[in-house]
C-alpha cells in the first residue's frame, strides 16, 4: 500500500468534504492530466464479459492498456459499463499471468504425475503431438477432443472447429456455451428452424411489459437492465414481472415478483396457455398463417449416465431415475397419467423428436393446468399465501393476454440450465406465438446470452459437437456437402456422427473413450457440475489434457500441459452478442512473454499433421449414417489427391493457409498501424483473422446469416452490425416483412428457418402418421408438460441448491478475481439462506458451513442477509470462487434434448463446519 494509514485518514476527511461541496479540480491539475494523456492512443473494442456486448474504447501507451471507457457511440451501452466492464483494462495484468508453456515433468521428460515446469513452445507442441497421435491412433477421431467456449473470438472458434471437423474429422468439439445457451438453441431450431432471437435490444424501448423468466438481469445483464429500468421510468404503463425461484436484485424494480418452485415454470407457462385458450385469446390470424402445433415424447430421461458403473454409492438412487421414474401426483395430473406409475425413460435417446398435433390436442393437453392446480404446485415461498400467489399468476396471464399490451419475455440460465430447458424455452414461444406477440418491435420472446460470443462464435460458427457454421449440422448430408464444398474437402470427409457434448467429453474422459482434450478459453474443470468426477478422471486416467489459458486456473492445474494465451486486447477478434450484433476489435497491445493467440496455437499445431494422418480410413464406433459404412469413416485421400492435395500436405496448408487465404495480405490498411502478433509468430505475410473471417462468412451469406465484409466492422462509424446484413443494411427484427429481407415480398411474417420443418403427424400419445409434412415458413407451437425435478429435497438432503453469478464476478472468476478491486468487493462466494433455515440449524450469518450433496461437500460462509432473498428451504451459492467450488456438488443432469446442465436445482444439506 503506497499510502500510509495516516494519509488515508486525512484523505477520508478531505473526500467527505468534497462530497458535500464538490471541490473543483484546478485548471493546473487539468492541464497536467491532459499533458500526461496526450500520447494515449484510443481505439474501439468490446467488453470481454457478458452477452450484452457493450462497446468500450481502449487507450494504450507503451504497449499497455492504460485506460478504458464505455464507448459513447455504442448503441448498446452509450458510454456506460457495469463494474466488470469498468475493469476491462485490468484483467490483462494479474500478477500470475502465464507467460510460457508449462508441462508436468520429471527429469526433463513429460510425466503425468510430475510437477509443472517451463518448456518451449516446440517442446510443448512435440509432446502434445505425440499424445494426440497416441489417442487418435488408439481410439480414432472420437478419442480426441477440444473443449471450446462462448468466449472464443469468431476466428478462434472457426479455426478450432475447422481443425476438428474438416481436419481431424472429429466432432468432439463442444463449448462451455453448452452449459449456457444449448437449450435456447435447441428450442430456436425446433421452433423456428433457425437459431437466435428475432428481436433486438430496442424491443426494450418499444415494449409495455417485460417478463423475466429465470433471468436476474439486474446483476447478469447490468446495462440492459438499466435500459429496462429507464423504460419503466419513462413509460408509466410499463410493467415488469420477475419470475424466479428466489427473490433477487431484479425484483427491486419489478411490479410483480413471482417466486415459484423449481421446474414449475413449465406449469406456469401452460397455465398462461390454458388462459389464452379459455379466454379465446388465440390470435388466429397469426397462428393459422404462421404456426403449427406440435409435441414430443415425455419420457426423455434427465441427461445423466444410464449406468451406475461410475456413480458413487450416494449418487445411485438419483442416477437410477435416468432409466425409470415413478410419477408424482403433480406430474401425473400434468401429463394425464396416474400417480405412482413407473415410467421407463424410453425416449432418452430420441428426446428431440416431435410431431404435429391438432389444436384440439393442444387444448386437451393444457386443460389440466388450472389456476388452482398450478398455484398449488408452483408457489415457491412457503411464507406467501396461496391466494396472493393466485392473484399474481392471474395478473401475469392478464398482462400476457391484454391485446393492447406489447410484451417481451427475457430469460437466461433459469430456462436454459433446466432439466427440461428446451421444453421451457419452447413454452415461452408457445405463448408468444399463440398471442401473435413475436418478431415485432416490443413483442417477442427474447433469449439473452451469458457469454460475449455465445451467439457470435459458439452458435454462429458452430463450435458444437453437432454443428457446422451458419446453423448447419453434421447429421444433415446436405449441410455436410455444402461445408465440404466451401472448405474444399473431398466428399465424406466430414464426420456425420454427432460428437460428444461437453458433459459427455468429461464422462468420456472418465470411461476412457477420450484420451486427449484441449481446453480453450474455458475453465471446464471448475465449471462442469459434479466436478469431483472429472477432476479425478483427468488426473488419474491415462489421458492428456492441454489447457490454453492466460492464468493458472483450476483447469490449468488439472491439465498436463498449459499453453499461455493472449487475452482479448492482445489479439484481433470479433464477438457476436445476444442481439446478433457482430463487433470487432484490433490488437491493442502485445501479449506478455511467450503468450500467443489461440488462433496461432491451433494453426501452429495443425502444421504437425498431414492429409494422410487424418483422411485415411478411420474407425468410428457407433457411426451409422446413409452412405457410410457402419463404424467407419471412409478413406478420402484418393479423392483429395484428385483435388490437388498431396497426402503429405500439412493441415495448416490444407485448412488455413489456402491459396485464397494467403492472398489476404498483411499488413493491411484496416490495421491503421496496429500489430498482429499472430502473423509475426507464424512468420508469414497473410492476415489469418481477416482471411478466415471472410472464408467463414461465406457460409452464411445468402443463407440468412449474412455478415458484412471484415473491413466494414472496422469503420470508425460502425459499432457492430446485426446480421443478416444484406445490401449493407442490418436486420433489426427477423421474420418480420417490414425489416427482414429474407421474408418473401408481401408477407407480414415468415419463420423461414429451414431446419426440422418436415415433421410427422400424431396426437398427444405419439406419431400416428410417420409421413413428414414440411411446414415452410412456419413456427411450431409446442405443448410441453410439467415434469418434476429429478433430484428434490428429502429428509436427508433437505434444501434446494442453486448456483449462479453475481454482478462483480465473471463465471469462474479467473479474470475478475485477479482485479484487486473486484476481489476486494466480493472476495468469496457466500451461501445465501433464509434466516429461519439458519436458525433451525443452529447457525448464524458468517458461520462457516458445510454444504453437502450426494456428490460431495464444500465449505462456504453463510449469509442470511445477502443480496438475494431466499425462500425457506432454498439456498443459492455463486460459482465464481474456486476456493468454495460450488460446482463440485451440483448435479450433472442435463436437458436431454439440448444436453445443457441444470445448475439450478439439486438437493443439499447444510450444517455447521
Amino acid at each position: 500500500m503506497s499510502i500510509t494509514r495516516r494519509d488515508f485518514m486525512k484523505s477520508t476527511v478531505a473526500a467527505s468534504a468534497a462530497a458535500a461541496v464538490g471541490i473543483p479540480i484546478s485548471q493546473i491539475a487539468k492541464a497536467e492530466v491532459a499533458e500526461a494523456e496526450k500520447d494515449w492512443q484510443w481505439d474501439k473494442a468490446v467488453c470481454r464479459f457478458c452477452g450484452v456486448g457493450c462497446g468500450i474504447m481502449c487507450a494504450t501507451k507503451d504497449g499497455r492498456i492504460v485506460a478504458t471507457k464505455g464507448d459513447p457511440d455504442a448503441p448498446v451501452n452509450r458510454g456506460l459499463n457495469c463494474i466488470k466492464g469498468y475493469f476491462n483494462g485490468k484483467i490483462l495484468y494479474g500478477k500470475d499471468r502465464l507467460t510460457q508453456p508449462l508441462m508436468r515433468m520429471t527429469d526433463g521428460k513429460f510425466d503425468k504425475q510430475g510437477k509443472f515446469a517451463p518448456v518451449t513452445w516446440d517442446q510443448a507442441f512435440d509432446e502434445m503431438e505425440k499424445q494426440f497421435r497416441r489417442a487418435h491412433g488408439e481410439l480414432g477421431p472420437a478419442g480426441v477432443s477440444i473443449i471450446g467456449s462462448g468466449q472464443y473470438t469468431v476466428q478462434e472458434g472457426y479455426v478450432a472447429a475447422k481443425f476438428m471437423k474438416a481436419g481431424v474429422r472429429s466432432n468432439n468439439i463442444d463449448p462451455n456455451a453448452r452449459h449456457c445457451m444449448a437449450s435456447a438453441v435447441a428450442a430456436f431450431i425446433q421452433t423456428f428452424g433457425i437459431d437466435e432471437p428475432s428481436g433486438n435490444y430496442d424491443d426494450i424501448e418499444y415494449t409495455d411489459t417485460a417478463v423475466l423468466w429465470g433471468a436476474n438481469m439486474a446483476e447478469c445483464h447490468p446495462i440492459l437492465w438499466s435500459r429496462i429500468t429507464d423504460r419503466k421510468l419513462s413509460h408509466p404503463d410499463m410493467k415488469l414481472v420477475n419470475l424466479s425461484t428466489f427473490g433477487n436484485m431484479s425484483s427491486s424494480v419489478a411490479d410483480l415478483e413471482i417466486i415459484f418452485k423449481p421446474n414449475t415454470d413449465l406449469a406456469i407457462q401452460n397455465y398462461i396457455a390454458r388462459e389464452i385458450v379459455h379466454r379465446d385469446a388465440v390470435n388466429w390470424d397469426f397462428v393459422n398463417k404462421h404456426c403449427v402445433f406440435a409435441t414430443g415424447p415425455y419420457d426423455i430421461g434427465y441427461g445423466m449416465r444410464n449406468t451406475d458403473k461410475f456413480a458413487h454409492d450416494a449418487e445411485k438412487d438419483i442416477q437410477a431415475k435416468e432409466n425409470a421414474v415413478v410419477l408424482d401426483e403433480a406430474e401425473a395430473v400434468a401429463q394425464r397419467r396416474k400417480a405412482g406409475e413407473t415410467v421407463e425413460q424410453k425416449n432418452a435417446g430420441g428426446a428431440g423428436k416431435h410431431w404435429q398435433i391438432s389444436y384440439d390436442d393442444f387444448k386437451t393437453a393444457v386443460e389440466p393446468y388450472t389456476l388452482d392446480f398450478v398455484a398449488e404446485l408452483s408457489k415457491g415461498d412457503p411464507d406467501e399465501s396461496l391466494d396472493d400467489f393466485k392473484v399474481k399468476l392471474k395478473q401475469l396471464a392478464d398482462w400476457f393476454i391484454d391485446d393492447q399490451r406489447k410484451l417481451v419475455s427475457f430469460w437466461t440460465m433459469g430456462f436454459n440450465q433446466h432439466q427440461r430447458g428446451t421444453w421451457v424455452n419452447e413454452q415461452c414461444y408457445m405463448n408468444h406465438l399463440l398471442l401473435g406477440k413475436q418478431a415485432q418491435p416490443g413483442n417477442g420472446a427474447f433469449s439473452l446470452t451469458g457469454q460475449p460470443s455465445a451467439c457470435g462464435t459458439a452458435r454462429e460458427v458452430g463450435t458444437f459437437a453437432h454443428r457446422l457454421p451458419a446453423d448447419m449440422v453434421v447429421a444433415n448430408p446436405k449441410h455436410r456437402e455444402r461445408s465440404e464444398k466451401l472448405w474444399k474437402l473431398p466428399a465424406k470427409t466430414i464426420n456425420p456422427k454427432v460428437g460428444s457434448h461437453i458433459v459427455k467429453i468429461m464422462r468420456d474422459l472418465e470411461d476412457g473413450n477420450i484420451k486427449f482434450a484441449w481446453v480453450q478459453v474455458n475453465n471446464p474443470f471448475q465449471a462442469t457440475a459434479n466436478a469431483n468426477h472429472w477432476i479425478e478422471a483427468a488426473r488419474k486416467s491415462d489421458n492428456f489434457i492441454v489447457c490454453s489459458d492466460p492464468y493458472p486456473t483450476v483447469s490449468a492445474k488439472v491439465a498436463d500441459l498449459i499453453l499461455p494465451s493472449a487475452m482479448i486486447f492482445e489479439k484481433w477478434g470479433a464477438y457476436g452478442n445476444a442481439e446478433r450484433r457482430t463487433q470487432m476489435w484490433r490488437e491493442q497491445v502485445p501479449p506478455p512473454g511467450q503468450a500467443r493467440s489461440d488462433v496461432w496455437q491451433v494453426l501452429e499445431f495443425s502444421k504437425r499433421f498431414t492429409v494422410k494422418d487424418f483422411w485415411g480410413e478411420q474407425k468410428l464406433p457407433g457411426l451409422k449414417a446413409d452412405g457410410f459404412e457402419d463404424g467407419k469413416l471412409p478413406d478420402v485421400i484418393a479423392a483429395a489427391r484428385d483435388m490437388g492435395y498431396s497426402p503429405d500436405d500439412n493441415m495448416y496448408k490444407v485448412l488455413f493457409a489456402t491459396p485464397a487465404n494467403t492472398k489476404v495480405a498483411w499488413p493491411d490498411p484496416v490495421a491503421k498501424g496496429h500489430d498482429n502478433h499472430t502473423v509475426v509468430a507464424l512468420g508469414e505475410n497473410w492476415f489469418p483473422e481477416k482471411a478466415l473471417f471472410e472464408e467463414y462468412a461465406e457460409f452464411g451469406r445468402g443463407h440468412e446469416h449474412d455478415l458484412a465484409p471484415f473491413d466494414v466492422y472496422y469503420r470508425d462509424d460502425v459499432r457492430g452490425l446485426k446480421w443478416p446484413v444484406v445490401d449493407g443494411k442490418e436486420t433489426p427484427w427477423r421474420f418480420n416483412g417490414e425489416y427482414d429481407p429474407y421474408v418473401p415480398k408481401g408477407e407480414k411474417f415468415a419463420f423461414y428457418g429451414k431446419a426440422l420443418k418436415a415433421i410427422p403427424k400424431g396426437n398427444l400419445d405419439g406419431v400416428t402418421d410417420p409421413n413428414k409434412t414440411a411446414h415452410t415458413d412456419k413456427a411450431k407451437i409446442f405443448f410441453r408438460p410439467y415434469a418434476a425435478p429429478v433430484e428434490q429435497p428429502d429428509k436427508n438432503y433437505d434444501l434446494w441448491y442453486c448456483t449462479g453469478r453475481v454482478l462483480e464476478h465473471w463465471h469462474t472468476g479467473t479474470m475478475t478475481r485477479r482485479v484487486p478491486e473486484l476481489h476486494r468487493a466480493v472476495p468469496t462466494a457466500t451461501l445465501f439462506m433464509h434466516p429461519a433455515d439458519a436458525q433451525s440449524r443452529n447457525m448464524q450469518r458468517k458461520d462457516v458451513v458445510w454444504i453437502e450433496s450426494r456428490r460431495g461437500k464444500i465449505k462456504a460462509v453463510l449469509e442470511t442477509q445477502g443480496r438475494d432473498r431466499m425462500p425457506k428451504g432454498y439456498v443459492f451459492l455463486p460459482f465464481f470462487d474456486e476456493g468454495v467450488f460450488a460446482n463440485k456438488i451440483a448435479l450433472d443432469a442435463t436437458c436431454p434434448i439440448s444436453k445443457e446442465t441444470d445448475y439450478k436445482k439439486c438437493a443439499v444439506k447444510v450444517y455447521k463446519a
Binding site: V13, A20, D230
Partner: protein, 268 residues
C-alpha cells in the same frame, strides 16, 4: 501539617530561611502547575486527536468513550475478523483506543457482538443487543466519483450492505443522455451502522463511499420545524389551554412599550 496557624517551629525560622521556604514552595507549585498544564494540554490534544476515528460497535460518544476506554484491547482480541486495532502513540487516533479503518477491514456485524461483550468498562455499551442498532459512523458518498452516480452499473455498496435497502437504498433516475436508467445509491442515516463494508467493497481507486463519524457530516433540521409529509399530525380536537400561560398585563409602565425606539427615532 499546614493549617491556618503556623507551627511553632517555623516561627523560629530566620527571615532568610523563611524566604527560602516560601520561594521553594512557590517554585514547587509553579513547576507542578506548569507540568499540570503541559500534561493536560497533552491529554486534551491526544483525546481529541482525530474526530474521524471509527470506533467499535456500541462505543459511547467520543468524549465518554475516551474517558471510559481503559485501552486493554480485549475488544481487539475478541474480533474474529481482526478488524480492530489499538492506536499506538504517534497515530492520529487517541492513543491506546480501539479503532478500525473500514477500507482495510470493516466491521462484519457479528450478531453476537463479541467486541462489546469483551469490553470490561462499558466504553462499548453493554446494552447494545442488536448489532443493527450500532452507530460506528455514517457512510458518505462522494457523488462525483461514485460510479453509480455517474450512471455505471456498479452499486457494489448496495449489494454488499448487510442492511441493504435499509441503510443503503437505490434510487432510479433517468440518465437523460441515453435510454439507460441510473441506479444511485443513497445512504439512510437512520439505519446505517457505519460498519464500512461498503467502503471496503467500493471498487474505485479511492473509495467513493466512506464511513465518517456522523457528527462530522450530518446536519439537523431546526427543532422548530417538521417536514409536513413525513409526520402525521391531526388537528387537536380538544384543545387544553396551558396552566401557566402568561397572564394578561394591565399595568405596563408607560414609556416601555416595545418598538418605540424604531417608531420614534430615525428618518424615513
Amino acid at each position: 501539617m499546614g493549617g491556618a496557624v503556623a507551627p511553632p517551629m517555623q516561627r523560629n525560622m530566620t527571615d532568610k530561611s523563611r524566604r527560602d521556604f516560601l520561594q521553594k514552595s512557590a517554585q514547587g507549585m509553579a513547576v507542578a502547575a506548569t507540568g499540570g498544564l503541559i500534561w493536560s494540554f497533552l491529554v486534551r490534544q491526544e483525546a481529541k486527536a482525530n474526530p474521524a476515528a471509527i470506533r467499535p460497535p456500541g462505543a459511547l460518544v467520543e468524549a465518554d468513550f475516551n474517558a471510559t476506554c481503559i485501552k486493554c484491547g480485549q475488544c481487539v482480541r475478541a474480533c474474529p475478523y481482526d478488524t480492530l486495532d489499538l492506536a499506538t502513540a504517534g497515530q492520529d487516533i487517541p492513543i491506546g483506543t480501539p479503532y478500525f479503518f473500514p477500507r482495510d477491514i470493516p466491521c462484519y456485524m457479528c450478531p453476537d457482538i463479541p467486541c462489546k461483550v469483551a469490553c470490561p468498562t462499558g466504553a462499548l455499551r453493554a446494552d447494545l443487543s442488536d448489532i443493527a442498532d450500532s452507530r460506528m459512523g455514517l457512510a458518505v458518498i462522494d457523488m462525483e466519483n461514485c460510479l453509480s452516480w455517474q450512471g455505471l452499473r456498479c452499486e457494489v455498496c448496495h449489494r454488499e450492505c448487510p442492511l441493504r435497502d435499509k441503510a443503503i437504498g437505490i434510487e432510479t433516475h433517468p440518465r437523460q443522455i441515453s435510454k439507460h436508467a441510473m441506479f444511485v445509491p443513497i445512504v439512510h442515516s437512520d439505519a446505517c451502522t457505519g460498519c464500512g463494508i461498503c467502503e471496503k467493497a467500493c471498487p474505485t481507486e479511492k473509495a467513493a463511499i466512506r464511513v465518517v463519524p456522523a457528527e462530522l457530516v450530518q446536519g439537523k433540521i431546526g427543532e422548530h420545524y417538521r417536514l409536513g409529509w413525513k409526520i402525521d399530525t391531526p388537528i387537536t380536537q380538544e384543545f387544553k389551554p396551558a396552566d401557566d400561560r402568561p397572564a394578561a398585563q394591565d399595568d405596563a409602565a408607560p414609556g416601555e412599550a416595545p418598538g418605540l425606539d424604531y417608531l420614534n427615532e430615525g428618518s424615513f
